[in-house]
């Protein structure tokens, strides 16, 4: 059996795209050098694009005004004075933190439920994934109607129960809640599936040992499940936080950043400056700010992840 597996692996390796397709292009260097070259080849467009964005951020660059004038740090100074950037940074932080916390908590809870034995479990697992499998722009457009004062599904239910029709997208606080909860509803399913795979990888013997030591369900979850899942949870927090910082579609289709700029996210601001009014220089400066925030989240997250692994 083992020899069959080895032979199978050999066959796969000999015909893998890396072996037969891309790597031979790098000539006769040893494999690790070629892999490094390939990695750089894949990363280079991103690095070049980032450098170009950084370069553009020092210019007043607008195709409409036909300008490409060097302005030094003016775009970055303008960032610090722009009230929209203040408001947007505040909401981006609020949205990222709230959404990530809710997604992780609900994701863990759903994963735990889906890990139990019950009828039609596989169907339930598939249905759970539906919101995640839908395009964000579709979800957000539907949410715009769901939260509508007169025609919205949510207000219909609330009105039947209380006779009230809240103004979800007009009120500052509820608009932020609407954006966040829509994002949570859409993306929690993905985390739940990842956490479910993590739960299934925990050996049952550990739970049995914990039971012998007198741990009940809550304690075994706290002392066995969570510590073993922690690296996965932290990985997912990094993923989720980065994608929340970069989030765009829900705000674009649900609130247009309103009321006022209450739900404007940084990437939405890049879109407004870059694609709506074609201020490419200023948009690049905002994009660089966004880049450094994402970088910070990534570096901090990686530090936490490494510490979590060391504890295991």
């Amino acid at each position: 059996m083992a020899s069959t597996d080895a032979g199978h692996r050999q066959l796969i390796t000999d015909h893998s795209p890396l072996t037969t397709g891309v790597l031979p292009l790098f000539g006769q260097q040893n494999l690790s050098t070629r892999r490094i070259l390939l990695a750089w080849l894949l990363v280079t467009p991103v690095v070049l694009w980032r450098l170009l964005t950084f370069y553009i951020s020092f210019f007043d660059n607008s195709p409409v005004r036909r300008t490409f004038d060097f302005v030094g740090l003016d775009n970055y100074i303008a960032l610090t004075r722009d009230s929209n950037v203040d408001a947007t940074l505040t909401f981006t932080l609020f949205f990222t933190v709230t959404s990530v916390i809710l997604q992780v908590v609900f994701g863990l809870a759903i994963a735990e439920l889906l890990n139990q034995r019950f009828r039609m479990r596989n169907l339930t697992r598939a249905v759970n994934l539906l919101p995640w499998a839908m395009a964000p722009i579709v979800i957000a457009t539907a949410a715009r109607w769901i939260f509508h004062q007169d025609y919205g599904l949510i207000n219909d239910i609330i009105w039947r129960l209380s006779g009230e029709r809240p103004l979800w997208l007009v009120n500052f606080t509820t608009a932020r809640f609407a954006v966040t909860i829509t994002d949570v509803w859409k993306n929690t399913a993905f985390l739940s599936v990842i956490f479910l795979s993590g739960l299934q990888g925990i050996p049952l013997e550990l739970y049995e040992a914990a039971k012998i030591d007198g741990a009940d369900g809550v304690r075994s979850y706290w002392y066995v499940t969570l510590p073993l899942l922690m690296p996965l949870i932290i990985s997912m927090i990094i993923f989720t936080a980065i994608f929340r910082v970069l989030s765009f579609e829900i705000v674009y289709a649900l609130t247009n950043g309103g009321p006022g700029t209450a739900t404007s996210l940084l990437s939405y601001l890049v879109y407004l400056e870059g694609f709506r009014v074609l201020n490419f220089g200023y948009a690049s400066a905002i994009a660089m700010l966004l880049f450094f925030i994402v970088l910070l989240v990534g570096v901090l997250g990686y530090g936490f992840l490494r510490r979590a692994w060391e504890r295991l």
Binding site: L31, V46, H148, D150, V245, V277, A283, S284, G298
Partner: protein
């Protein structure tokens, strides 16, 4: 391949290694996504590739209804023997604008002429992406005096060059439910105080009926509201820091927040939801683009008995309403300049332009407005004629190449005021702090 190399490719990946690699990969993917666009260098017109005898014309048409347009194309093809490739633009205005911006900024040679709006004529014209049309006017002997002059000089031209020939007229008119007015025993309002009184008489919140519809969502619609109300107060969307504009904005907010003659959901309403509400008997009055008036003809019974229009009531400064248009522009990078010009000449003809009445819209040439057939099928034309005869009652929006920036700045700050996040003074100050440098850049003043 060496054994070591094979082992390197086939060894199992630990969960830890997988997470590290996946994390790093995701971080890179995410970082690469936060890049901003870069302007393509502006180059020549591309006219050097002009074909000797162009036979195919590529146009993009944006409209709320496109059925009638095939008739226009058929007529053109029959008269000229040329073929028209007709592309329907995205219905959502912002998407449409982005589509054309991307194409034109990249020196598109696949579009010869397109249906452009007020903003596009100035923005794209100033960017050098549109061909000046004075030679076309001369070549096809187009009598520009037959158009409302504000449409020609204020929103189709920039820096002395004409970039668009207006095709369909759009003017904001006050339309109202005649049956509601009759039932309440009121007449159309003549000034703002009247508007509140009559609106109050028409509002029945328990029955879900409001005196007036307001569409104050961000994304262009609030900008139009700001423009026409502040204009009546003596200001404008780019001139908010004065008593008249402040009074207008306070009055606008009071319509739903104090007088309750509009629903308090006004700051989230867009044209689509208001029109839906209008057709569901929710509103008694609506000051909006006359195209909606034409669209009501889809329900002729409703239209015939229940809807009419009146001239805008007098504001503190004037009784003007805003006007604009859609028209045809020629793409500067098109290799088919002559053919595109021929299309402009063709669509500027009164008999061709008139065909827009089959979608309920008023053609841009004033001489057509008194035509009985136009008055029958484009129901707002009699009111536009009244406005034209009254004189000085229509005003185009203050369009400059940075009008989109001005709209965004005004909308974001006024919307914050309308939703109780900031005071009126704070909103006006913040908006004008952004708008003044833009105006200085555009107008040098």
């Amino acid at each position: 391949m060496s054994r070591k190399a094979l082992a390197s490719l086939t060894r199992p990946v630990s969960r830890r290694a997988f997470l590290k690699t996946a994390g790093a990969g995701a971080a890179f993917a995410a970082l690469s996504a936060c890049a901003a666009p870069v302007a393509a260098p502006a180059e020549g017109t591309g006219g050097e590739e002009t074909m000797a005898e162009p036979q195919e014309l590529n146009i993009v048409y944006w409209a709320d209804s496109n059925d009638f347009f095939q008739g226009v194309i058929d007529q053109y093809q029959e008269e000229t023997g040329n073929t028209v490739n007709y592309e329907v633009a995205p219905a959502v205005y912002i998407e449409w604008q982005q589509m054309m911006t991307t194409r034109l900024a990249s020196g598109d040679t696949g579009t010869d002429a397109f249906h452009s709006d007020d903003f596009q004529a100035a923005i794209y014209g100033a960017a050098g992406w549109l061909s000046p049309l004075e030679p076309v006017v001369d070549l096809y002997d187009i009598d520009l005096d037959d158009w409302p002059q504000t449409l020609i000089y204020d929103v189709s031209s920039w820096d002395g060059a004409l970039y668009r020939i207006p095709w369909g007229n759009d003017t904001e008119i006050f339309f109202y439910r005649t049956d509601y007015f009759e039932e309440a025993g009121v007449s159309p309002p003549t000034d703002w105080n009247d508007l509140v009184e009559i609106g109050t008489a028409l509002t029945d919140e328990d029955a879900g009926i409001y005196g007036i519809a307001l569409s104050a969502t961000i994304g262009g619609q609030l900008g139009n509201e700001i423009q026409h109300w502040t204009n009546q107060g003596g200001g404008a969307i780019n001139n908010l820091d004065n008593d008249g504009a402040r009074e207008a904005l306070a009055f606008y907010k009071a319509l739903y927040a104090e007088h309750n003659i509009a629903p308090d959901s006004a700051p989230q309403e867009d044209y689509s939801s208001v029109f839906q509400g209008w057709l569901s008997n929710k509103y008694a009055m609506w000051w909006c683009w006359d195209g909606f008036f034409g669209a009501m003809r889809t329900n002729e019974e409703f239209w015939a008995d229940q809807v009419s229009a009146f001239l805008p009531p007098m504001g503190p400064d004037n009784a003007e309403t805003i006007t604009g248009c859609w028209g045809w522009s020629v793409v500067a990078s098109s290799p088919n300049q002559e053919l595109a010009n021929e299309w402009i000449g063709f669509t500027a003809r009164a008999d061709v332009m008139k065909q827009q009445i089959y979608r309920g819209r008023v053609p841009a040439r004033v001489s057509l407005w008194a035509d009985p057939e136009v008055q029958d099928l484009a129901p707002s034309s009699p009111f536009l004629l009244d406005l034209a005869e009254a004189g000085g009652l229509v005003k185009a929006r203050p369009v400059t190449p940075s009008i989109q920036e001005i709209y965004d700045a005004a909308e974001q700050n006024v919307h914050a005021y309308l939703t109780d996040q900031v005071s009126l003074d704070e909103a006006v100050t913040a908006a004008m702090d952004k708008i003044n440098p833009i105006l200085e850049r555009d107008l040098g003043s």
